[in-house]
Amino acid sequence: MAQLTVHAPGLDLPNPLMLASGLQGGSVSALERVAKSRCGGLVSKSIGPSPREIYPGPVCVEAMNGVILNAMGLPNPGVDAFSKMLANNEFAKPMLVSIFGPDSESFSNIAIKMEKSGATALELNLSCPHSKPGSTALIVGQQPNLIHEYVSAVKDVVNIPVYAKLTPNTASIAIEAGAALNAGADGISLINTVSALEIDPFAGRPIIGNLLCGMSGPTIRPIAQRKIAEVALAMRRGDIPVAPILGMGGITTGLDVARFIMLGATAVQIGSALIYDDIDVFETIEKELNDFMDVQGFRDLESMRGIALDSLEGLN
């Protein structure tokens, strides 16, 4: 059996398979249920400054084979309720607490409360709009100057490690990753959902209640892999600081995990796969990964990490 443990800032994981933010992670009972599976770690639902209701449905639909579309509207209990739940519960697995807010001040206030309640690491969901005038058309994650501002604001007020979660909907992801890392981020999570839209031709309107949506699931995996490779290569070249990458986007099998690790990911997150097979996916994927590594003779994750980057090194 291969050695699957992962050590990254704030994360000592028995295996590299983390729950991705937003999937089942908004309540203690749901997180506890996931923690009991074979996952290696958890990421909470993104928690904001105040409670938010879910958008009108349909909120999450399998629109085609391998295509998951969602617009949940970041439903969450709000920082006060969630930090109380954090303080009163021990989870069986390490957890990144995902947070979001309307501005950098809100991010840092939430970060302080989460650290006080016992969070051991944070993930900043930068795929949210910036409420200050002048930049509402873009989300924070599309503006390197704002990424820098938000990450710095949080790093200034907490001591726990901070991961910046990036959107794939930009021209050159290495620039956004660099902005986060130069501001002191301890790691990068990518990718969030790909912006999307689907129309029902009979009803003549979008099939998602919110109209616009984000796409995830197996079909976005090649996009995610490209983005991860771009960030990992920029790190190799020394263009941006070296830091752990938590890779995600469309992972459903152990072989997919191997692909991400070979592109330089330290660990992975799994989201949409739960829509197909619920939390049992962690056990299946762990076994597939183990079998693959055994038959290939990889004794641990380090021995296969980044090997697919060698062939890409000359590229820009």
Partner: protein, 328 residues
Amino acid sequence: MKKHTHTKERDKHFNLNALVEACCERMEKEYQQHNRLPTPIPSPIIEITKESNGVSTIWIQVPTILATDYKPGQYFMCWNPYDSEGGMSKKNYNSEKPYSVGDIRVDRSGIDEETAPDQGLDGSTMMGFTIKNLGRQSGELIKMEKGDWFAIRGPFGTNFQTPNFGETLILVSGGIGSTPMHMAAKEARNKLGDKLTIHSIMGFQTSDDVHYHDKMGEICDSVTVTTDDGSFGLQGYPTIPLREIISNCEPSNTKLFTCGPEPMMKPVLEICEENGIESYAAMERYLPCSVAACGLCMVGDRLTCRQGPVMEGSWLLEQDDFGSPHYH
């Protein structure tokens, strides 16, 4: 100018039946590929039956395979893509909601002439969703008319198992919990004929809500209606007639299914526990996503959308978060 896809806005050459057929064909293709409808498929409403004040059944045509594969207790996510004013902005309360099927009319044209009353338009197969006006969202559904779009996605979730030969089945419903009870009765009777005794207890708030008791009367050996205010049937809760029916049953040979608000189901399940009767309940929770994504439908350590809605009564009674009201 605002363009509409509403069937009423179309010109005189428009043929509603042809559109219904096209939507039905689309459903069939999707269903054959995925064994469910993974994405909401809209279809024009072909009939609306008023069951009582504030309770209506919306009928749409579906491929026969969807109806014959359907198991009682499973639910569909139901959605009107436009609200009653033709709008679809986020502010309107036309969210998708879970409903279990209330009635099915299967096309048996090739099978048996005698089941004619069971047939839909032109002998097609129809599914009926029975909806009570519970607030803004279901209120929008209640306002719908023939020709309006009605989209379904599913079926999802666990189901009631068919009882065994020679058993007694007790069905206890509260409000529109009547729908899965009706389908369970219908299925059991279809499969087991008279080798099964079915007692139905149907609880309602007032006589205005009473529905489906005639349908149940045609299938069940006994039907008892209760209303909270005594305006129809017995006054009080379903637990009163339940104790009496149980006293005449052999517990080891009896099963109970229930569906309704949790404060109604809890005492019903407790009576089953006291008497050693196997019980199953269909949970009426709000299921925002239905696909194990949001995590907002937990009961104990289970996701209602996937590990429910039908769950064992004995298990439910052990959960702290079972039994309080959940509003839609």
